[in-house]
């Protein structure tokens, strides 16, 4: 089975993230790392491969600037076989439509039985790329699931949807996205980190994929940011040390604010 795991290199959520003047994420000012939510997708791929034996091949795919390669190295250190890095100046400023187009073309070029994604990227957090990938590839989308099982050409999982928990099943080939409840991700071992250095990473650009530059990047974006503004920092209120009357003091505060 051929598995492609889509992984994104994102600005560290723990850092102070900002925007550039044109309203796109400022990637220069903070460190970036492999999106934590994509580690769950990697973990599922590795577990499937372990259960399946030698027949499973895992490739990682990322679309992003030069340093996105770091995300691929981290993934390869966890396990898997090879990676594809799509990088092109024309991709800068892409929205989910542009990103999903590039990903879809790269996935088609490579071939796949299963595409695994995280539930959302920790920077954009739209959680729509997997659905768009399925739409573009014309295959079933088993998204936002935990309790993932792959067998006999089907893929199933449990999904906490908008108003209900549903158990869903689709046939392969398919696009699957997993939540942070799908199973804890492993840490790369020292051996894994060393082995990752020798695993092949292919670099592709838009021309290699036959993607029209007008469809991606800023020119292909279908929405525009008008303004970005930092929320005014909250003014820290009164912090009292409980001397035996902390609960009563809290009740007085809530009464003053008309919650009681």
């Amino acid at each position: 089975m051929k598995i492609v795991v889509c992984v994104k290199h994102v600005p560290d959520a723990a850092a102070d993230r900002t925007f550039t003047e044109d309203g796109s994420t400022d990637r220069a000012s903070v460190d970036s790392l492999l999106s934590e939510l994509d580690e769950y997708a990697i973990e599922q791929a590795l577990r499937i491969a372990e259960a399946d034996g030698a027949d499973t091949e895992i490739s990682y795919l990322t679309v992003g600037p030069d340093d996105a390669r770091d995300a691929l190295r981290k993934a390869l250190a966890m396990g898997g076989d090879s990676a594809i890095h799509v990088s092109d100046e024309g991709i800068e400023g892409s929205d989910a439509f542009g990103t999903s187009l590039v990903l879809a073309r790269a996935i088609e070029r490579h071939g796949f039985d299963l595409v695994l994604c995280g539930m959302a990227s920790t920077d954009g957090a739209m959680g729509v790329v997997p659905a768009m990938l399925a739409e573009r590839l014309g295959v079933p989308a088993v998204t936002h699931v935990e309790g993932l099982t792959v067998d006999d050409g089907t893929v199933s999982g449990r999904r906490e949807g908008d108003g209900a928990t549903v158990s869903v099943q689709g046939t392969l080939p398919a696009v699957v996205s997993v939540t942070d409840r799908s199973g804890d991700a492993r840490y790369p071992s020292f051996k894994g980190i060393m082995a990752a250095k020798r695993k092949p990473v292919e670099t592709l650009d838009l021309a290699d994929l036959g993607v029209d530059p007008a469809q991606v990047g800023r020119s292909g974006a279908r929405s525009a940011v008008d303004t970005t503004a930092r929320r005014p920092p909250r003014t820290k209120g009164e912090i009292v040390v409980d001397d035996g009357a902390g609960g009563a003091g809290l009740a007085a505060f809530l009464t003053a604010r008309k919650f009681i």
Binding site: A13, E135, P140, D226, A229, R234, G237, I239, V240, I260
Partner: protein
């Protein structure tokens, strides 16, 4: 007046509050039409009309319940074409967002997700979003096609504007993709006696500091008529169900009052509650980062502070 399509979020015809918020927002942009998928439209029509739905398009086909997301995509895409709608509003949630994404792709339209406000603008609807763990407010608009927008719960207060809706049954041609993912079993989310987490005016949340028994949190919630929330640490420990998780990978709430007890305030938790109007924190560690957001904080043991709070609420009310 341009027609605005609103996808109705309901359980067997019981319409959820976020839909009424969508109808209220849609009235700013044009004339709302509700798109009702599945059975139960009869019991929903009255409330949809009360909040200003001039039309209710009903698609009651078996495909809707048997398959995931794609039947809604077929329905909305075809209705958008038939009606020439000026915008589509959907609820933000895994189902709403994925439906929106695929509809936008098929229509060649732009998409904005997780809006916390929508107002008319010179080039179509202008949305407001909270990003980067709610540290930034961003306004944006769609530049191509019919804007498709998903809106978070509590974006606005539902306001009635009664009309008698025209109910139209609509036939939809479901494509092969609609049959692709089967729903094997469906367990509707229980709507308990407490308010829904994302819809509540007050949320009382507990974290690892609760140490197993959430009764101490539930008592405060009930005294205040609040919903119960939980940190991921509390959920992962199995102390409370996941649908109560607040944060990046849980619910993002924006209540009038958020009371957090025994929660340290990791960035992923803050991402889900930072925009609450008033924040109250109880934690025995004076250095807990969540105190930085607190309008009122108590450094103390939650097992002493919270029961006293409940007692005092009772005393003040009697």
């Amino acid at each position: 007046m341009p027609e605005i399509l609103v996808l109705v979020d309901h359980t067997d015809g019981a319409v959820h509050k976020p839909t009424l918020e969508l109808l209220t927002l849609a009235r700013r942009l044009g004339e709302p039409s509700a798109v009702f998928l599945g059975p139960g439209a009869d019991s929903a029509t009255e409330v949809l009309g009360r909040y200003g739905a001039h039309k209710v398009y009903v698609v009651d086909a078996p495909e809707v319940g048997e398959h995931l997301v794609t039947p809604a995509v077929d329905a909305l895409t075809q209705l958008a074409g038939r009606t020439g709608a000026a915008a589509l509003l959907l609820p933000s949630g895994p189902d709403g967002k994925e439906t929106a994404a695929r509809v936008a792709l098929r229509l060649g339209s732009g998409l904005i997700t997780d809006a916390v406000d929508v107002v008319p603008g010179p080039d179509g609807p202008v949305t407001e979003q909270s990003v980067f763990a709610a540290t930034y407010q961003v306004t944006a608009h769609v530049t191509r096609g019919v804007p498709v927008i998903t809106v978070k719960p509590n974006a606005t207060a539902p306001e009635p504007a009664p009309v008698t809706p025209l109910v139209e049954k609509q036939d939809v041609a479901f494509g092969p993709a609609s049959a692709a993912v089967r729903v094997l079993a469906r367990t509707p989310r229980e709507r308990g006696d407490r308010p829904e987490l994302t819809e509540a005016d007050i949320v009382v949340s507990g974290g690892r500091g609760v140490n197993g028994d959430f009764t101490v949190i539930e008592r405060v919630a009930d005294a205040l008529g609040a919903a119960v929330g939980a940190s991921r640490a509390a959920v992962d420990s199995g102390w409370y169900p996941h649908r109560h998780q607040v944060g990046q990978t849980g619910a993002q709430v924006s209540p009038q009052l958020y009371l957090a007890a025994g929660i340290s305030g990791a960035i992923q938790h803050r991402a889900g509650m930072q925009t609450s109007k008033t924040i109250v924190v109880v934690n025995k560690d004076a250095d807990a980062p969540l105190f930085e957001l607190a309008d009122h904080g108590v450094v103390g043991d939650l097992f002493e502070v919270l029961p006293q709070l409940v007692e005092e609420i009772r005393r003040r009310r009697s």
